[in-house]
């Protein structure tokens, strides 16, 4: 089971990586007014053919060859629906995929956000050749983390260096605190 949003993000983004995406964006939008939390993961990977798209939330559907079940999207769907939300996936072959999950922000079954900052940074560090954009919006403001901007500052130094990873995680955490993200 996924204990928090950070785990879902780590999981679903792996799909984008397997699809060969060079750019992956993760957007979280919290709205107190309509008591909703939206998680949108967009990539420019190879896309999902229409016939497969109908079945992606079926646990017995997976593109991998090492096992016969794929639980990433079904678990996300189950989590979203248990909070009164839903999961929708749109995709175009050759263009990319958008997975959009909505949740009841204050619903008791909504899992905590978890270590989103650490997850985004680990993904960026493990995939230095891909661009990751993470945007988080709350009623108090918005914060955007973009690995293109990080690499501009690093001027050729690897984003995978431990002190860089540590710094980026702290930087994102502090900025998320500023916009008072939910637990």
């Amino acid at each position: 089971m996924m204990k928090d949003f950070a785990m879902h993000i780590m999981d679903i983004v792996q799909n984008s990586i397997s699809a060969g995406a060079s750019q992956i964006s993760v957007t979280i939008t919290e709205s107190e007014a309509d008591d909703s939390l939206k998680l949108v993961i967009t990539d420019n990977g190879k896309g999902i053919p229409a016939a497969m798209l109908e079945k992606v939330t079926d646990p017995y559907t997976t593109s991998r060859t090492t096992r016969k079940v794929g639980l990433g999207l079904p678990l996300l769907k189950q989590h979203a629906e248990s909070t009164g939300g839903h999961l929708s996936i749109a995709s175009e072959v050759g263009k990319g995929t958008v997975a959009e999950a909505s949740f009841g922000l204050s619903h008791l079954d909504r899992q905590p956000l978890g270590d989103v900052a650490g997850t985004i940074v680990l993904l960026a560090a493990a995939n230095p050749e891909r661009r990751f954009i993470y945007r988080h919006t709350t009623p108090y403001g918005s914060y955007t983390f973009d690995t293109d901007e990080v690499n501009e500052v690093l001027e050729g130094m690897s984003i995978s260096e431990a002190p860089v990873i540590r710094f980026l995680r702290e930087m994102i955490e502090e900025n998320l605190k500023e916009i008072k993200i939910s637990g």
Binding site: M1, M2, A6, M7, M10, D11, Q14, I17, S18, R64, T65, T66, R67, G70, L71, G72, L75, D115, G118, T119, L122, L123, A125, A126, N127, E149, V150, V153, L154, E155, M157, S160, E161, A162, P163, V164, I165, R166, F167, L168, E170, M171, E174, N175, E178
Partner: protein
């Protein structure tokens, strides 16, 4: 309360790190580094693969071991997650199962440093997804 960190502060980290790197002359050739790949599919993530990856990155840095830590997909050993594949320079990859912080510490101290095998090796001729 201090100022919120921004990318401008990253420059300091960069300069600091460049000083250290020239000291230990980091090789640009990944073949000469220890490579660790943490299986990061649904099964791995649900069993704590992220904590294991965090641990390897932090500890390699602290113990001054030159290593590359990345992610891989499910290797088919969902029952033994978290699993990690460790490749020492010039050696065949070895897959360890049931890795937590303690096992990861053993892997670094025994296998990475001394080449001693530790418990929990998955002794199968496996193929990674990329190879299929």
């Amino acid at each position: 309360m201090g100022q919120v960190k921004s990318l401008a502060d990253l420059r300091k980290i960069k300069e600091n790190q460049q000083g250290k790197m020239s000291l230990r002359e980091k090789s640009n050739n990944p073949e000469s580094l220890v490579q660790v790949r943490v299986a990061m599919a649904t099964c791995g993530i649900a069993s704590g693969a992220k904590q294991v990856m965090d641990f390897f990155i932090e500890e390699f840095d602290k113990r001054n071991i030159q290593a590359v830590v990345t992610q891989t997909g499910c290797m088919g050993y969902c029952f033994a997650e978290p699993t990690v594949e460790v490749t020492l320079p010039g050696k065949e990859p070895v897959v360890f199962g049931y890795v937590d912080a303690k096992k990861a510490d053993d892997i670094i101290e025994k296998y990475v440093k001394n080449g001693e095998l530790v418990e929990g090796i998955i002794p199968v001729n496996y193929e990674t997804i990329e190879k299929k």
